[in-house]
Symmetry: C2
Subunit: 362 residues, 2 copies
């Protein structure tokens, strides 16, 4: 892990991350294979051509524009290989390649608890979230949430005096909903705003899974307060469970539709949260100690897959996600070669590398 990247290395890292078809899994595989983003960028056109389709790299001008936009906001870019990248995010498999932050990034390396929930929340639910955030804050936890209406806003308010982190789907300057402008300003001043998107970007639906993955990834525990059945907070809870984080849910009456999602989480094994002590107790449990999903950026050499292997791999894929290990077994080829072939196919848009080691046709 590098202490800080040089300006040139940072620009290359940013270009690689913003290049089309380069998701976090592909990014990760490329860095492992080529050691630096600059070398990966050099190799990309040939890799994509082998995969079967040309690729348009993000240009130096694109990167410079993004860096300038961030600088104008007083925001800071932190790359996943840098020493000040939050450890909890660096331990994800794969980590987000980079984050933009405003405010106090040092909060991200403290012990964090996410509090998320319904946008259309009851007054009681908001009061509970605010009180829970306040008590957890006083117990030394940084409160992470998503700046949304309802539970998120209440959690940020409760955590404001002791430290709160807002993770956005759009750029670090994308204030949504607009009535949270003052809340946003206080978090950017006293807390920390985080985003994986480029500054100036307005969030669209497909940005929220990545936003939610950072919310849970930063946090040792995720508490869901009020959530209807099939709501977004439940996705954050699922991601948290996959990341080995503690998941807690606040129970509610079966007569309250906003308790359907949380009661269902409890059915599925989430711990019951009736107050801060439940969260603090969960943090003492075996999952409370963060176990990294992977070692941050240890690079190892990989060979070059030939045309035959690449097409054999492509033929094994379908829209149903399978594990990369399964593809390795099916081909009988060495794992690094198969992974390299998958990266080439993904760059050509012929497959999608999913987190959790899964792969499917794009």
């Amino acid at each position: 892990m590098t202490e800080r990247l040089s300006d040139a290395a940072r620009r290359a890292w940013l270009r690689l991350a913003r290049t089309e078809n380069v998701g976090p899994v592909t990014f990760d595989q490329l860095i492992v294979r080529y050691t630096t983003a600059a070398r990966a960028l050099e190799a990309l056109p040939e890799l994509a051509r082998r995969g079967g389709r040309p690729i348009r790299l993000a240009t130096e001008a694109d990167a410079d524009a993004e860096l300038a936009a961030g600088e104008a906001l007083g925001a800071q870019l932190i790359c996943a290989c840098e020493g000040d990248f939050p450890q909890a995010l660096a331990a994800l498999d794969p980590p987000p390649p980079l984050i933009w932050v405003r405010g106090r990034p040092e909060l991200l390396d403290q012990s964090c608890v996410a509090i998320v929930g319904a946008r259309v929340a009851s007054a009681a639910g908001q009061r509970f979230a605010r009180g829970l955030a306040s008590e957890l804050g006083q117990a030394g936890q940084v409160i992470v949430s998503g700046l949304a209406r309802g539970i998120d806003a209440a959690a940020h308010e409760g955590g404001m005096p002791t430290g709160t982190v807002a993770v956005l789907g759009g750029g670090v300057d994308d204030i949504y909903p607009p009535e949270h402008a003052s809340l946003y300003a206080r978090i950017a001043e006293q807390g920390c705003v985080v985003s994986e998107s480029e500054p100036g970007r307005t969030a669209v639906a497909r940005d929220f899974p990545r936003r939610n993955r950072i919310i849970s990834g930063l946090s040792r525990a995720v508490v869901v307060v009020e959530a209807e059945f099939r709501s977004g907070s439940l996705i954050t809870a699922r991601l948290a469970a996959e990341q080995g984080r503690e998941v807690l849910a606040v129970p509610g009456s079966p007569l309250d539709p906003r308790a359907k999602g949380t009661n269902d989480l409890i059915r599925q094994g989430a711990a019951i949260c009736e107050g801060a002590e439940d969260v603090l107790r969960a943090l003492e449990g075996p999952r409370g100690f963060r176990e990294p999903e992977r070692t941050p950026y240890v690079t190892g050499g990989a060979g070059e897959p030939d045309e035959a292997l690449r097409e054999a791999v492509a033929a094994l894929l379908s829209p149903t996600p399978v594990s990369r290990d399964e593809i390795v077994r099916a081909t009988g080829a060495p794992a690094p070669l198969v992974f390299a072939a998958l990266v080439e196919l993904s760059l050509a848009g012929r497959c999608e590398l999913l987190s959790g080691g899964m792969v499917a046709t794009a």
Copy 2:
């Protein structure tokens, strides 16, 4: 199991059950040892004398008075060895020696679900209990509860059209609270009222554990709707779990003190109940099929413990309950002899035989 007892045998059974220091465990041991209540009554004075203290037997006049009182109410006495004793109760270890019933005892051998909860219940909780009872009733379940204020009354109301059973701590004619007189009358007419106590008895605190044990014992599942921390419904839930019945609890907001007990049950492993389908699903599970805790009244011979064994057993007892098996192991004597010694000590008031095979000094 006898089809019906003769009048004389019934009177003996009743006398034995009403004799001082004869709880259900001692009763059970005596029937196993002496085969009939009449023979057990004959042996009792000598057994108690060996235990170290004389005993006052319930008289024939006592039994006749109780039988007359029951008859005057139109109530029916059913002894645990009789063919029409509810199978679910006969399978308890030990079973209640007898029950008095008014109304339709045939309901007791149908599939029953208990719904219990707070006396000071919210309007929403009562509405939920009534609706749950109604839906379960329509699905063929008989609703069992305790005639108390709040959740119990709502459960009986919901179950009234399809069949409901009220289990009382006092006699079958002990209407408490008084404002439930009309509810009681409808249950005695359309449903069934059950009690282990003698007719005319007003319930006192120590009657409720036996009442609760019959509520859970009759039922394949117990649902707790609203219960404060350390409330009586939680005892019924514990008994149900010990008896191998399904336990379900209705979750509620941490801001509602009446959800403390039910949320705590869920923490301890109770299933979440958000509606009738959760209960019906639980009944399909492995516990849904009633597994008898014991074979009803299979008698086997036991020897006679001598003075030395009896005192060795007495010396092993303390106020801390231990299992009878542990006493057997500690003495090294044959189990039937040790059990017989314990019965003698219990008749003399020197120990208490508890359900679940435990024993302690009285």
